[in-house]
Amino acid sequence: MLAALISTPALPALAQFRVEVTGVGLTQLPIAIAPFRGEAQSPQKISAIVQADLERSGQFRAVDASGAVLDETARPDVALWRQKSADSLATGSVTRLADGRFDVRFRLWDVVKGQDLGGQSFVVTQGDLRLVSHRIADFIYEKLTGERGIFSTRIAYVTKTGSRYSLWVADADGENAQSALSSPEPIISPAWSPNGGQLAYVSFESRKPVVYVHDVASGRRRLIANFRGSNSAPAWAPDGRSLAVTLSRDGGSQLYTIDANGGEPRRLMQSAGIDTEPMFSGDGRSIYFVSDRGGAPQIYKVSTSGGNAERVTFTGSYNISPSVSPDGRWLAYISRVGGAFKLHVMDLSSGTVNAVTDTTADENPSFAPNSRLIVYATQQQGREALMTTTLDGKIKARLAGQAGDIREPDWGPFQKQ
Protein backbone atom coordinates (compact mmCIF):
# COMPACT_ATOMS: atom_id res chain seq x y z
CA MET A 1 0.00 0.00 0.00
CA LEU A 2 2.64 2.46 1.10
CA ALA A 3 4.98 1.53 -1.71
CA ALA A 4 2.20 1.98 -4.23
CA LEU A 5 1.48 5.46 -2.93
CA ILE A 6 5.10 6.52 -2.80
CA SER A 7 5.60 5.46 -6.39
CA THR A 8 2.60 7.53 -7.43
CA PRO A 9 3.80 10.97 -8.49
CA ALA A 10 2.23 13.62 -6.26
CA LEU A 11 -0.01 15.94 -8.23
CA PRO A 12 0.38 19.47 -6.89
CA ALA A 13 -3.26 20.45 -7.37
CA LEU A 14 -4.71 17.26 -5.96
CA ALA A 15 -4.31 16.48 -2.31
CA GLN A 16 -2.70 13.07 -1.97
CA PHE A 17 -3.58 11.23 1.18
CA ARG A 18 -2.07 8.55 3.30
CA VAL A 19 -3.97 6.33 5.67
CA GLU A 20 -2.32 5.50 8.96
CA VAL A 21 -4.21 3.50 11.51
CA THR A 22 -2.90 4.73 14.84
CA GLY A 23 -4.95 2.81 17.36
CA VAL A 24 -5.88 -0.76 18.13
CA GLY A 25 -9.44 -1.96 18.54
CA LEU A 26 -10.68 -4.84 20.61
CA THR A 27 -13.14 -6.82 18.54
CA GLN A 28 -12.28 -6.72 14.88
CA LEU A 29 -13.31 -9.08 12.10
CA PRO A 30 -10.25 -10.71 10.52
CA ILE A 31 -10.47 -10.54 6.73
CA ALA A 32 -8.06 -11.43 3.93
CA ILE A 33 -8.25 -9.39 0.73
CA ALA A 34 -6.39 -11.36 -1.96
CA PRO A 35 -4.62 -9.29 -4.64
CA PHE A 36 -7.06 -8.93 -7.54
CA ARG A 37 -5.93 -10.83 -10.62
CA GLY A 38 -4.66 -8.28 -13.18
CA GLU A 39 -4.16 -5.63 -10.52
CA ALA A 40 -0.47 -5.20 -11.30
CA GLN A 41 -1.48 -3.83 -14.73
CA SER A 42 -4.34 -1.73 -13.31
CA PRO A 43 -3.94 2.00 -12.55
CA GLN A 44 -5.46 1.39 -9.10
CA LYS A 45 -4.57 -1.36 -6.62
CA ILE A 46 -8.12 -2.34 -5.84
CA SER A 47 -7.37 -4.82 -3.05
CA ALA A 48 -5.25 -2.20 -1.22
CA ILE A 49 -8.00 0.42 -1.44
CA VAL A 50 -10.60 -2.06 -0.15
CA GLN A 51 -8.30 -3.14 2.68
CA ALA A 52 -7.51 0.45 3.74
CA ASP A 53 -11.24 1.29 3.77
CA LEU A 54 -12.10 -1.68 5.95
CA GLU A 55 -9.21 -1.03 8.34
CA ARG A 56 -10.13 2.64 8.70
CA SER A 57 -13.62 1.65 9.83
CA GLY A 58 -12.10 0.12 12.96
CA GLN A 59 -14.24 -2.99 12.54
CA PHE A 60 -11.82 -5.09 10.50
CA ARG A 61 -8.31 -6.46 10.88
CA ALA A 62 -6.46 -7.34 7.69
CA VAL A 63 -4.98 -10.82 7.41
CA ASP A 64 -1.94 -11.00 5.13
CA ALA A 65 -2.97 -12.33 1.72
CA SER A 66 0.07 -11.32 -0.29
CA GLY A 67 1.12 -13.89 -2.85
CA ALA A 68 -2.31 -15.52 -3.02
CA VAL A 69 -3.25 -16.38 -6.61
CA LEU A 70 -7.04 -16.32 -6.67
CA ASP A 71 -9.84 -14.54 -8.45
CA GLU A 72 -13.63 -14.43 -8.17
CA THR A 73 -14.01 -17.64 -10.15
CA ALA A 74 -11.75 -19.71 -7.90
CA ARG A 75 -13.06 -21.80 -5.06
CA PRO A 76 -10.60 -21.02 -2.25
CA ASP A 77 -9.04 -23.61 0.06
CA VAL A 78 -10.96 -22.49 3.15
CA ALA A 79 -8.85 -24.59 5.52
CA LEU A 80 -5.76 -22.66 4.48
CA TRP A 81 -7.45 -19.30 5.20
CA ARG A 82 -8.85 -20.54 8.50
CA GLN A 83 -5.30 -21.51 9.40
CA LYS A 84 -4.27 -17.90 8.77
CA SER A 85 -7.09 -17.03 11.22
CA ALA A 86 -9.18 -15.21 8.63
CA ASP A 87 -12.95 -15.34 8.98
CA SER A 88 -13.58 -13.99 5.50
CA LEU A 89 -11.81 -13.73 2.18
CA ALA A 90 -12.38 -11.43 -0.77
CA THR A 91 -11.13 -12.38 -4.22
CA GLY A 92 -11.44 -10.66 -7.56
CA SER A 93 -10.03 -9.52 -10.86
CA VAL A 94 -9.59 -6.42 -12.95
CA THR A 95 -9.38 -6.63 -16.73
CA ARG A 96 -8.81 -3.84 -19.22
CA LEU A 97 -11.36 -4.09 -22.02
CA ALA A 98 -10.74 -3.31 -25.69
CA ASP A 99 -12.55 0.04 -25.36
CA GLY A 100 -10.23 1.12 -22.51
CA ARG A 101 -12.72 0.57 -19.72
CA PHE A 102 -12.13 -1.87 -16.88
CA ASP A 103 -14.11 -4.94 -15.91
CA VAL A 104 -13.88 -5.39 -12.13
CA ARG A 105 -15.30 -8.48 -10.43
CA PHE A 106 -15.12 -9.82 -6.92
CA ARG A 107 -16.52 -12.42 -4.58
CA LEU A 108 -16.70 -12.60 -0.79
CA TRP A 109 -16.27 -15.87 1.10
CA ASP A 110 -17.06 -16.89 4.64
CA VAL A 111 -14.10 -19.24 5.16
CA VAL A 112 -15.37 -20.45 8.53
CA LYS A 113 -18.56 -21.84 6.99
CA GLY A 114 -17.03 -22.36 3.54
CA GLN A 115 -19.83 -20.24 2.14
CA ASP A 116 -20.02 -17.92 -0.87
CA LEU A 117 -21.44 -14.61 0.38
CA GLY A 118 -21.94 -13.18 -3.11
CA GLY A 119 -20.12 -10.86 -5.43
CA GLN A 120 -20.48 -8.03 -7.89
CA SER A 121 -19.11 -6.95 -11.23
CA PHE A 122 -18.62 -3.49 -12.66
CA VAL A 123 -17.54 -2.09 -16.01
CA VAL A 124 -16.10 1.36 -15.45
CA THR A 125 -13.79 4.01 -16.84
CA GLN A 126 -10.35 4.41 -15.31
CA GLY A 127 -11.58 7.46 -13.38
CA ASP A 128 -14.13 5.36 -11.51
CA LEU A 129 -11.81 2.54 -10.42
CA ARG A 130 -11.42 4.02 -6.94
CA LEU A 131 -15.17 4.47 -6.62
CA VAL A 132 -15.69 0.82 -7.57
CA SER A 133 -13.14 -0.19 -4.93
CA HIS A 134 -15.11 1.77 -2.33
CA ARG A 135 -18.32 0.10 -3.52
CA ILE A 136 -16.67 -3.29 -3.00
CA ALA A 137 -15.64 -2.26 0.52
CA ASP A 138 -19.23 -1.13 1.17
CA PHE A 139 -20.55 -4.51 -0.01
CA ILE A 140 -18.15 -6.39 2.27
CA TYR A 141 -18.84 -4.09 5.23
CA GLU A 142 -22.59 -4.49 4.91
CA LYS A 143 -22.45 -8.28 4.42
CA LEU A 144 -20.26 -8.77 7.48
CA THR A 145 -21.52 -6.12 9.91
CA GLY A 146 -25.15 -5.81 8.83
CA GLU A 147 -24.79 -2.03 8.52
CA ARG A 148 -24.35 0.18 5.51
CA GLY A 149 -20.79 1.12 4.63
CA ILE A 150 -19.72 4.71 4.01
CA PHE A 151 -16.68 4.14 1.81
CA SER A 152 -18.32 5.31 -1.42
CA THR A 153 -19.54 8.55 0.16
CA ARG A 154 -17.80 11.88 -0.35
CA ILE A 155 -16.32 14.47 1.94
CA ALA A 156 -15.87 18.18 1.32
CA TYR A 157 -13.05 20.20 2.81
CA VAL A 158 -11.13 23.43 2.35
CA THR A 159 -7.42 23.93 1.72
CA LYS A 160 -5.33 27.05 2.00
CA THR A 161 -2.27 27.02 -0.24
CA GLY A 162 -0.31 30.25 -0.20
CA SER A 163 -2.98 32.93 -0.47
CA ARG A 164 -5.41 30.70 -2.35
CA TYR A 165 -8.41 28.96 -0.81
CA SER A 166 -10.01 25.92 -2.42
CA LEU A 167 -13.11 23.90 -1.67
CA TRP A 168 -12.63 20.23 -2.54
CA VAL A 169 -14.87 17.25 -3.00
CA ALA A 170 -13.06 13.98 -2.32
CA ASP A 171 -13.74 10.31 -1.72
CA ALA A 172 -14.30 9.36 1.92
CA ASP A 173 -10.67 8.23 2.12
CA GLY A 174 -9.61 11.72 1.05
CA GLU A 175 -8.35 10.60 -2.35
CA ASN A 176 -9.59 11.62 -5.77
CA ALA A 177 -10.05 15.25 -4.69
CA GLN A 178 -11.66 17.57 -7.23
CA SER A 179 -11.81 21.33 -6.82
CA ALA A 180 -15.32 22.77 -6.62
CA LEU A 181 -14.26 26.36 -5.92
CA SER A 182 -11.02 28.30 -5.87
CA SER A 183 -10.91 31.81 -4.42
CA PRO A 184 -8.45 34.49 -3.25
CA GLU A 185 -10.61 34.94 -0.11
CA PRO A 186 -11.43 32.47 2.69
CA ILE A 187 -14.07 29.73 2.36
CA ILE A 188 -15.46 28.12 5.54
CA SER A 189 -18.25 25.88 6.82
CA PRO A 190 -19.11 23.68 3.82
CA ALA A 191 -22.28 21.65 4.41
CA TRP A 192 -23.61 18.91 2.13
CA SER A 193 -27.25 19.03 1.15
CA PRO A 194 -29.16 15.91 2.27
CA ASN A 195 -29.24 14.57 -1.32
CA GLY A 196 -25.47 14.98 -1.72
CA GLY A 197 -25.76 17.17 -4.81
CA GLN A 198 -25.12 20.60 -3.35
CA LEU A 199 -22.79 22.28 -0.90
CA ALA A 200 -23.73 25.30 1.18
CA TYR A 201 -20.74 27.30 2.44
CA VAL A 202 -19.53 30.70 3.57
CA SER A 203 -17.40 32.55 1.03
CA PHE A 204 -15.59 35.83 1.71
CA GLU A 205 -15.09 36.54 -2.01
CA SER A 206 -16.98 39.84 -1.77
CA ARG A 207 -14.88 40.64 1.32
CA LYS A 208 -17.59 39.81 3.78
CA PRO A 209 -19.07 36.45 4.81
CA VAL A 210 -21.88 35.45 2.45
CA VAL A 211 -23.68 32.08 2.20
CA TYR A 212 -23.84 30.31 -1.16
CA VAL A 213 -25.40 27.04 -2.30
CA HIS A 214 -23.29 25.37 -4.97
CA ASP A 215 -24.42 22.59 -7.29
CA VAL A 216 -21.40 20.33 -7.31
CA ALA A 217 -21.89 18.59 -10.68
CA SER A 218 -22.58 21.76 -12.68
CA GLY A 219 -20.66 24.37 -10.69
CA ARG A 220 -23.75 26.61 -10.62
CA ARG A 221 -23.93 28.77 -7.51
CA ARG A 222 -26.67 30.81 -5.94
CA LEU A 223 -26.61 33.36 -3.15
CA ILE A 224 -28.65 32.23 -0.18
CA ALA A 225 -27.82 34.84 2.42
CA ASN A 226 -26.15 38.12 1.54
CA PHE A 227 -27.66 40.45 4.09
CA ARG A 228 -26.14 43.45 5.77
CA GLY A 229 -23.44 42.33 8.20
CA SER A 230 -22.14 38.76 8.43
CA ASN A 231 -23.88 35.69 6.99
CA SER A 232 -22.53 32.33 8.14
CA ALA A 233 -22.86 28.80 9.57
CA PRO A 234 -25.25 27.21 7.02
CA ALA A 235 -26.95 23.96 8.12
CA TRP A 236 -29.44 22.01 6.03
CA ALA A 237 -32.78 20.83 7.31
CA PRO A 238 -33.02 17.05 6.71
CA ASP A 239 -35.70 17.56 4.02
CA GLY A 240 -33.31 19.82 2.08
CA ARG A 241 -35.96 22.52 1.73
CA SER A 242 -34.49 25.07 4.11
CA LEU A 243 -31.30 26.00 5.92
CA ALA A 244 -30.51 27.45 9.29
CA VAL A 245 -27.96 30.29 9.15
CA THR A 246 -26.36 32.84 11.46
CA LEU A 247 -27.03 36.44 10.44
CA SER A 248 -25.99 39.72 12.07
CA ARG A 249 -28.36 41.88 10.02
CA ASP A 250 -30.46 42.82 13.05
CA GLY A 251 -27.38 43.27 15.29
CA GLY A 252 -25.43 40.50 16.99
CA SER A 253 -25.07 36.94 15.65
CA GLN A 254 -28.50 35.32 15.68
CA LEU A 255 -30.14 32.23 14.17
CA TYR A 256 -32.57 32.30 11.25
CA THR A 257 -34.06 29.76 8.89
CA ILE A 258 -34.22 30.50 5.19
CA ASP A 259 -35.69 28.74 2.17
CA ALA A 260 -33.15 26.74 0.15
CA ASN A 261 -34.05 28.88 -2.85
CA GLY A 262 -33.38 32.07 -0.91
CA GLY A 263 -35.94 34.64 0.18
CA GLU A 264 -36.76 36.31 3.46
CA PRO A 265 -35.16 34.75 6.55
CA ARG A 266 -37.27 33.86 9.55
CA ARG A 267 -35.77 34.56 12.95
CA LEU A 268 -35.65 31.44 15.09
CA MET A 269 -34.98 33.05 18.47
CA GLN A 270 -33.96 36.25 20.09
CA SER A 271 -31.05 36.32 22.53
CA ALA A 272 -28.83 38.98 24.03
CA GLY A 273 -25.56 37.24 23.19
CA ILE A 274 -24.11 35.16 20.39
CA ASP A 275 -26.16 32.32 18.87
CA THR A 276 -24.39 30.42 16.08
CA GLU A 277 -23.36 27.02 14.61
CA PRO A 278 -26.87 25.61 14.16
CA MET A 279 -27.19 21.90 13.34
CA PHE A 280 -30.44 20.06 12.72
CA SER A 281 -31.10 16.76 14.47
CA GLY A 282 -31.63 13.84 12.09
CA ASP A 283 -35.39 13.87 12.65
CA GLY A 284 -35.52 17.59 11.85
CA ARG A 285 -37.37 18.38 15.06
CA SER A 286 -34.65 20.26 16.88
CA ILE A 287 -31.65 22.46 16.25
CA TYR A 288 -28.47 22.19 18.29
CA PHE A 289 -26.50 25.44 18.45
CA VAL A 290 -23.82 27.35 20.34
CA SER A 291 -24.71 30.29 22.54
CA ASP A 292 -22.89 32.47 25.06
CA ARG A 293 -26.18 33.49 26.68
CA GLY A 294 -24.95 31.98 29.95
CA GLY A 295 -21.67 33.93 29.82
CA ALA A 296 -19.51 31.31 28.04
CA PRO A 297 -20.09 29.35 24.84
CA GLN A 298 -22.16 26.21 25.48
CA ILE A 299 -24.24 23.91 23.30
CA TYR A 300 -28.01 24.24 23.49
CA LYS A 301 -30.94 22.64 21.77
CA VAL A 302 -34.21 24.22 20.67
CA SER A 303 -37.29 22.92 18.88
CA THR A 304 -37.44 23.97 15.22
CA SER A 305 -40.86 25.42 16.02
CA GLY A 306 -39.27 27.72 18.61
CA GLY A 307 -39.76 27.83 22.35
CA ASN A 308 -37.24 27.62 25.13
CA ALA A 309 -33.67 26.48 24.53
CA GLU A 310 -32.36 23.64 26.64
CA ARG A 311 -28.71 23.51 27.64
CA VAL A 312 -26.87 20.33 26.51
CA THR A 313 -23.24 20.75 27.66
CA PHE A 314 -22.41 21.43 31.29
CA THR A 315 -18.73 20.61 31.73
CA GLY A 316 -16.11 23.20 30.83
CA SER A 317 -16.35 26.85 29.82
CA TYR A 318 -16.00 26.57 26.04
CA ASN A 319 -18.05 24.01 24.09
CA ILE A 320 -18.59 24.66 20.40
CA SER A 321 -19.17 23.11 16.93
CA PRO A 322 -21.91 20.57 17.68
CA SER A 323 -22.46 17.68 15.26
CA VAL A 324 -25.31 15.24 15.91
CA SER A 325 -24.98 11.70 14.57
CA PRO A 326 -27.57 10.85 11.88
CA ASP A 327 -29.03 8.16 14.19
CA GLY A 328 -29.54 10.79 16.88
CA ARG A 329 -27.58 8.91 19.55
CA TRP A 330 -24.36 10.95 19.71
CA LEU A 331 -23.21 14.54 19.89
CA ALA A 332 -19.66 15.35 18.80
CA TYR A 333 -18.29 18.77 19.72
CA ILE A 334 -15.11 20.67 20.58
CA SER A 335 -14.40 21.45 24.21
CA ARG A 336 -11.59 23.59 25.57
CA VAL A 337 -9.76 21.71 28.29
CA GLY A 338 -6.85 23.50 29.96
CA GLY A 339 -6.21 25.65 26.90
CA ALA A 340 -6.44 22.70 24.46
CA PHE A 341 -9.32 22.28 22.02
CA LYS A 342 -10.35 18.62 21.96
CA LEU A 343 -12.96 16.53 20.21
CA HIS A 344 -15.53 15.11 22.64
CA VAL A 345 -18.35 12.63 22.05
CA MET A 346 -21.47 12.66 24.22
CA ASP A 347 -23.90 9.75 24.49
CA LEU A 348 -27.12 11.77 24.27
CA SER A 349 -29.21 9.21 26.14
CA SER A 350 -26.98 9.10 29.22
CA GLY A 351 -25.11 12.40 28.93
CA THR A 352 -21.78 10.56 29.32
CA VAL A 353 -18.91 12.42 27.63
CA ASN A 354 -15.56 11.11 26.37
CA ALA A 355 -12.58 13.01 24.99
CA VAL A 356 -11.45 10.90 22.04
CA THR A 357 -8.21 12.55 20.86
CA ASP A 358 -4.76 13.39 22.17
CA THR A 359 -4.36 16.43 19.90
CA THR A 360 -4.83 20.02 21.09
CA ALA A 361 -6.33 22.02 18.22
CA ASP A 362 -9.29 19.92 17.07
CA GLU A 363 -12.03 21.61 15.05
CA ASN A 364 -15.28 21.03 13.25
CA PRO A 365 -16.36 17.37 13.68
CA SER A 366 -18.74 15.78 11.17
CA PHE A 367 -20.35 12.32 11.36
CA ALA A 368 -20.26 9.69 8.65
CA PRO A 369 -23.79 8.92 7.43
CA ASN A 370 -23.77 5.54 9.24
CA SER A 371 -22.94 7.30 12.56
CA ARG A 372 -19.85 5.06 13.05
CA LEU A 373 -17.00 7.45 12.21
CA ILE A 374 -16.26 11.14 12.72
CA VAL A 375 -14.06 13.28 10.47
CA TYR A 376 -12.48 16.34 12.09
CA ALA A 377 -9.75 18.89 11.53
CA THR A 378 -6.72 19.12 13.79
CA GLN A 379 -3.06 20.11 13.85
CA GLN A 380 -0.19 17.65 13.79
CA GLN A 381 3.44 18.77 13.81
CA GLY A 382 2.29 22.32 13.21
CA ARG A 383 0.34 21.43 10.06
CA GLU A 384 -3.39 21.29 9.60
CA ALA A 385 -4.69 17.78 8.94
CA LEU A 386 -7.93 15.85 8.67
CA MET A 387 -8.49 12.73 10.76
CA THR A 388 -11.19 10.14 11.03
CA THR A 389 -11.90 8.41 14.32
CA THR A 390 -14.22 5.77 15.63
CA LEU A 391 -16.60 7.09 18.28
CA ASP A 392 -14.55 5.54 21.07
CA GLY A 393 -11.34 7.10 19.69
CA LYS A 394 -9.61 3.73 19.35
CA ILE A 395 -9.05 3.74 15.60
CA LYS A 396 -7.87 6.91 13.93
CA ALA A 397 -6.69 7.47 10.40
CA ARG A 398 -5.02 10.52 9.04
CA LEU A 399 -6.10 11.89 5.70
CA ALA A 400 -2.88 13.81 5.19
CA GLY A 401 -2.58 16.14 2.23
CA GLN A 402 0.50 17.62 0.67
CA ALA A 403 -1.09 20.70 -0.82
CA GLY A 404 -1.17 23.25 2.00
CA ASP A 405 -3.36 23.35 5.07
CA ILE A 406 -6.52 21.23 5.21
CA ARG A 407 -9.58 22.14 7.25
CA GLU A 408 -13.36 22.34 7.51
CA PRO A 409 -14.36 18.76 6.65
CA ASP A 410 -17.98 17.83 6.08
CA TRP A 411 -19.00 14.23 5.50
CA GLY A 412 -21.60 13.83 2.75
CA PRO A 413 -24.68 11.59 2.82
CA PHE A 414 -25.04 8.04 1.48
CA GLN A 415 -24.89 7.98 -2.30
CA LYS A 416 -27.83 6.72 -4.28
CA GLN A 417 -27.12 3.19 -5.43
Partner: protein
Protein backbone atom coordinates in the same frame (compact mmCIF):
# COMPACT_ATOMS: atom_id res chain seq x y z
CA UNK B 1 -18.52 53.25 -7.41
CA UNK B 2 -15.50 51.08 -7.93
CA UNK B 3 -16.19 47.61 -9.14
CA UNK B 4 -15.37 45.54 -6.11
CA UNK B 5 -14.02 42.41 -7.62
CA UNK B 6 -13.72 40.67 -10.88
CA UNK B 7 -15.24 37.29 -11.17
CA UNK B 8 -13.64 34.93 -13.59
CA UNK B 9 -15.66 31.81 -13.98
CA UNK B 10 -13.86 28.90 -15.44
CA UNK B 11 -15.98 25.88 -15.81
CA UNK B 12 -13.80 22.86 -16.07
CA UNK B 13 -15.32 20.03 -17.96
CA UNK B 14 -14.95 16.84 -16.05
CA UNK B 15 -15.10 13.27 -16.97
CA UNK B 16 -18.41 11.75 -16.16
CA UNK B 17 -17.55 8.12 -16.27
CA UNK B 18 -20.21 5.59 -16.82
CA UNK B 19 -20.44 2.16 -15.39
CA UNK B 20 -22.72 -0.56 -14.37
CA UNK B 21 -22.78 -2.52 -11.18
CA UNK B 22 -24.40 -5.88 -11.26
CA UNK B 23 -25.17 -7.89 -8.15
CA UNK B 24 -24.01 -11.47 -8.26
CA UNK B 25 -25.63 -12.76 -5.09
CA UNK B 26 -27.71 -15.51 -6.66
CA UNK B 27 -24.94 -17.18 -8.58
CA UNK B 28 -24.18 -20.69 -7.36
CA UNK B 29 -20.82 -21.36 -5.75
CA UNK B 30 -19.90 -24.02 -8.29
CA UNK B 31 -20.27 -21.67 -11.21
CA UNK B 32 -16.76 -20.93 -12.38
CA UNK B 33 -17.71 -19.39 -15.68
CA UNK B 34 -16.81 -15.75 -15.50
CA UNK B 35 -19.26 -14.64 -18.18
CA UNK B 36 -22.18 -16.25 -16.42
CA UNK B 37 -21.26 -14.49 -13.18
CA UNK B 38 -22.27 -11.30 -14.96
CA UNK B 39 -25.80 -12.55 -14.45
CA UNK B 40 -26.71 -11.55 -18.00
CA UNK B 41 -28.32 -8.43 -16.64
CA UNK B 42 -27.00 -4.95 -17.14
CA UNK B 43 -30.35 -3.23 -16.84
CA UNK B 44 -32.28 -3.41 -13.59
CA UNK B 45 -29.29 -3.69 -11.31
CA UNK B 46 -27.07 -1.25 -13.15
CA UNK B 47 -25.77 1.15 -10.54
CA UNK B 48 -24.63 4.44 -11.92
CA UNK B 49 -21.27 4.87 -10.25
CA UNK B 50 -20.43 8.05 -12.11
CA UNK B 51 -21.35 10.38 -9.32
CA UNK B 52 -17.92 11.86 -8.98
CA UNK B 53 -18.10 14.68 -11.51
CA UNK B 54 -17.29 18.08 -10.05
CA UNK B 55 -17.32 21.25 -12.14
CA UNK B 56 -14.74 23.64 -10.77
CA UNK B 57 -15.31 27.38 -10.34
CA UNK B 58 -12.30 29.71 -10.25
CA UNK B 59 -12.70 33.19 -8.78
CA UNK B 60 -10.29 35.95 -9.78
CA UNK B 61 -8.70 38.79 -7.84
CA UNK B 62 -10.01 40.46 -4.70
CA UNK B 63 -11.12 44.08 -4.85
CA UNK B 64 -9.17 47.12 -3.74
CA UNK B 65 -10.02 49.62 -1.04
CA UNK B 66 -10.83 53.28 -1.61
CA UNK B 67 -8.79 55.94 0.21
CA UNK B 68 -9.52 56.79 3.84
CA UNK B 69 -8.55 59.84 5.90
CA UNK B 70 -4.90 60.81 5.26
CA UNK B 71 -2.47 60.08 8.08
CA UNK B 72 -4.99 58.25 10.27
CA UNK B 73 -4.55 54.62 11.28
CA UNK B 74 -7.41 52.32 10.31
CA UNK B 75 -6.91 49.57 12.90
CA UNK B 76 -8.44 49.34 16.38
CA UNK B 77 -6.83 46.70 18.64
CA UNK B 78 -8.66 44.80 21.37
CA UNK B 79 -7.60 42.99 24.54
CA UNK B 80 -7.99 39.23 24.89
CA UNK B 81 -11.63 38.20 25.18
CA UNK B 82 -12.63 41.87 25.03
CA UNK B 83 -15.01 43.76 22.77
CA UNK B 84 -14.56 47.18 24.38
CA UNK B 85 -12.84 50.02 22.53
CA UNK B 86 -9.91 51.26 24.57
CA UNK B 87 -9.63 55.04 25.22
CA UNK B 88 -6.46 55.37 23.13
CA UNK B 89 -8.46 54.59 19.98
CA UNK B 90 -11.05 57.32 20.56
CA UNK B 91 -9.20 59.93 18.48
CA UNK B 92 -8.84 57.45 15.61
CA UNK B 93 -12.58 56.81 15.66
CA UNK B 94 -13.32 60.53 15.77
CA UNK B 95 -11.06 61.18 12.76
CA UNK B 96 -12.87 58.50 10.77
CA UNK B 97 -16.28 59.84 11.78
CA UNK B 98 -15.34 63.30 10.47
CA UNK B 99 -14.07 61.77 7.21
CA UNK B 100 -17.26 59.76 6.60
CA UNK B 101 -19.55 62.62 7.43
CA UNK B 102 -17.60 64.87 5.01
CA UNK B 103 -18.54 62.66 2.06
CA UNK B 104 -22.08 61.32 1.95
CA UNK B 105 -21.16 58.76 -0.73
CA UNK B 106 -18.35 57.30 1.38
CA UNK B 107 -18.97 53.76 2.55
CA UNK B 108 -17.09 52.21 5.45
CA UNK B 109 -16.69 48.50 6.03
CA UNK B 110 -15.74 47.66 9.62
CA UNK B 111 -14.08 44.24 9.63
CA UNK B 112 -13.76 42.42 12.95
CA UNK B 113 -10.95 39.90 13.51
CA UNK B 114 -9.88 37.51 16.26
CA UNK B 115 -6.74 35.62 17.17
CA UNK B 116 -6.25 31.99 16.13
CA UNK B 117 -7.67 30.23 19.20
CA UNK B 118 -10.91 28.30 18.97
CA UNK B 119 -13.46 27.46 16.29
CA UNK B 120 -13.89 29.33 13.01
CA UNK B 121 -17.61 30.05 13.28
CA UNK B 122 -17.50 31.06 16.93
CA UNK B 123 -14.59 33.38 16.17
CA UNK B 124 -16.63 34.83 13.32
CA UNK B 125 -19.29 35.75 15.88
CA UNK B 126 -16.65 37.20 18.25
CA UNK B 127 -15.15 39.30 15.43
CA UNK B 128 -18.64 40.55 14.68
CA UNK B 129 -18.89 41.82 18.26
CA UNK B 130 -15.69 43.85 17.76
CA UNK B 131 -16.90 45.28 14.45
CA UNK B 132 -20.23 46.23 16.00
CA UNK B 133 -18.51 47.93 18.95
CA UNK B 134 -16.74 50.21 16.46
CA UNK B 135 -19.96 50.75 14.53
CA UNK B 136 -21.76 51.83 17.68
CA UNK B 137 -18.95 54.29 18.57
CA UNK B 138 -19.18 55.84 15.11
CA UNK B 139 -22.97 56.04 15.36
CA UNK B 140 -22.62 57.90 18.65
CA UNK B 141 -20.50 60.44 16.76
CA UNK B 142 -23.30 60.93 14.23
CA UNK B 143 -22.26 58.61 11.41
CA UNK B 144 -25.28 57.39 9.45
CA UNK B 145 -25.97 53.68 9.61
CA UNK B 146 -26.38 53.62 5.82
CA UNK B 147 -22.73 54.62 5.38
CA UNK B 148 -21.22 51.77 7.37
CA UNK B 149 -21.46 48.02 7.68
CA UNK B 150 -20.01 45.82 10.42
CA UNK B 151 -18.78 42.42 9.22
CA UNK B 152 -16.43 39.77 10.55
CA UNK B 153 -13.57 37.69 9.21
CA UNK B 154 -13.21 35.74 12.45
CA UNK B 155 -9.77 34.16 12.55
CA UNK B 156 -9.57 33.75 8.78
CA UNK B 157 -7.38 36.77 7.96
CA UNK B 158 -4.72 37.23 10.63
CA UNK B 159 -2.61 40.38 10.28
CA UNK B 160 0.38 38.45 11.59
CA UNK B 161 1.09 34.72 11.32
CA UNK B 162 2.09 32.72 14.38
CA UNK B 163 0.67 31.94 17.78
CA UNK B 164 2.90 34.03 20.02
CA UNK B 165 1.10 36.37 22.42
CA UNK B 166 2.44 39.32 20.42
CA UNK B 167 1.05 37.93 17.15
CA UNK B 168 -2.29 37.24 18.80
CA UNK B 169 -2.49 40.80 20.16
CA UNK B 170 -1.96 42.16 16.65
CA UNK B 171 -4.69 39.92 15.27
CA UNK B 172 -7.42 40.94 17.75
CA UNK B 173 -8.57 43.96 15.81
CA UNK B 174 -11.16 45.78 13.77
CA UNK B 175 -10.06 47.21 10.43
CA UNK B 176 -11.76 50.20 8.86
CA UNK B 177 -11.77 50.04 5.08
CA UNK B 178 -13.47 52.29 2.56
CA UNK B 179 -15.12 50.80 -0.48
Amino acid sequence: MIKRFTLALTVVALVAGCSSGVKLDDVPVEDKNATSTMGGNTGANSGNTAQSGVAGVDLGQSGRDAAGPVGVSRIVYFDYDSYVIKPEFQSLIEAHSRFIKAGTNRKLMIEGHTDDRGGREYNLALGQKRAEAVRRSLALLGVQDSQMEAVSFGKEKPAVQGNSEDARAQNRRAELSYR
